[in-house]
């Protein structure tokens, strides 16, 4: 579905080891989607801190995604496992203030087929967000 102009904004933090051409591939999507999507490449998804996720939500992202390497494929061994725990921690924190935990989503691509960041993003965009705009934006 074409989600341009819906006002729904996404922040996508991702492990840049996933896609050797991530710079070119993500910029193509950014051009297409304008300000409704922002990418934040990380050297490893284990570099993510709950604070990054909170600041993304606080800045008005309606939904924040963290894309890790496939399980067992982290070049730093357990970065993606740590990322999973940090997302879970942050989900608990936002639930405490009445935000749906679905505002944060962890995406772990399958190890069977190598995918690029633009393909992963198109998959995200093809799905219904299943969540409204962020309460941070006011009613």
């Amino acid at each position: 579905m074409d989600q341009r102009g819906t006002g729904f904004t996404r922040a996508i933090l991702f492990c840049r080891q996933l896609d050797p051409n991530q710079d070119v591939n993500r910029r193509a999507i950014e051009r297409e989607m304008g300000g409704s999507i922002r990418f934040f490449p990380l050297p490893c998804s284990g570099r993510v801190d709950p604070l990054y996720l909170m600041r993304a939500l606080e800045s008005g992202a309606d939904k924040v995604y963290l894309i890790t390497c496939p399980e067992g494929a982290c070049r730093y061994r357990e970065g993606n496992l740590r990322a999973k725990k940090r997302v879970a921690y942050t989900q608990g924190l936002i639930e405490e203030i009445g935000f749906a935990r679905e505002r944060l989503e962890l995406i772990v691509p399958s190890a069977e087929k190598r995918v690029t960041i633009d393909e992963l993003t198109r998959d995200i965009l093809a799905r219904e967000a299943a969540i409204g705009t962020s309460p941070v934006k006011g009613k």
């Binding site: 709950p50 909170m54 600041r55 405490e96 203030i97 935000f99 309460p135 006011g138 009613k139």
Partner: protein
């Protein structure tokens, strides 16, 4: 190290409800080490409170600051220039830090964001365990540096209770029997003879019953 945990956000929200401008103050020492009150935790809590306020249409202004230590006046003084601009201070320090700040700024509401829990060590990443009760009468020298007051569920001074199973405490099987640790370490050090001495009950008056304890060192005073 003093350990602490963040209070539930609902409790924090209730405390700060009467105030609009909040100074959120972290402490860069013990509570930073136990991931409860350092700079990151100040950021997380501030973000959460701002998001909550926006979502409920309330106006709130939060400034984040983290002192190296909240229990030492020289560091607390860093707040002197800004504290008057805020309605309240939300402190992410241990109870000692909260009270020290309150003492320096008698007219400012100083609210605790943490529950101070125990004196402990960082056992591994993300795991802190209690190993000192601050009893004021340390006997680690005779107990192979394993504190029976803290680490034995029954606080026994003269040998194990006999209830441990496969070196685990009968009160909590997740916890190693302190007396098993004491005996093993004394064996390893060839100092089992230390256990021949019978120890009288602890002198709890050094820990409690006389109000707040204090230490005075004249050579350190000005």
């Amino acid at each position: 190290m003093i350990t602490a945990e963040r209070k539930p956000i609902s409790e924090i929200k209730e405390m700060i409800a009467p105030y609009r401008k909040i100074l959120v103050v972290g402490c860069g020492s013990c509570v930073a080490e136990c991931a409860a009150g350092g700079e990151k935790e100040v950021g997380l809590l501030s973000s959460a409170l701002r998001m909550d306020a926006k979502a409920s249409g309330k106006e709130i202004e939060i400034k984040e600051i983290t002192l190296d230590r909240q229990c030492v006046y020289e560091f607390i003084d860093h707040l002197a220039e800004i504290i008057s601009q805020y309605d309240a201070v939300l402190s992410l320090a241990c109870g000692a830090g909260v009270q020290a700040v309150a003492e320096v700024f008698p007219k400012a509401p100083i609210l605790p964001a943490l529950n101070t829990t125990f004196l402990g060590e960082t056992k591994e990443a993300g795991l802190w365990v209690e190993n000192c009760r601050g009893c004021g009468d340390c006997k680690l020298g005779v107990f192979a540096a394993v504190c029976p007051v803290t680490r034995c569920a029954k606080g026994l001074f003269n040998g194990p209770c006999g209830g441990s199973k496969t070196d685990r405490c009968e009160v909590d099987p997740d916890v190693p029997c302190a007396w098993q640790l004491i005996v093993t370490r004394l064996e390893d050090m060839g100092q089992l003879d230390l256990l021949r001495k019978v120890h009288p009950p602890a002198d709890w008056s050094k820990q409690q019953g006389k109000g707040p304890r204090k230490i005075i060192r004249e050579d350190q005073r000005t």
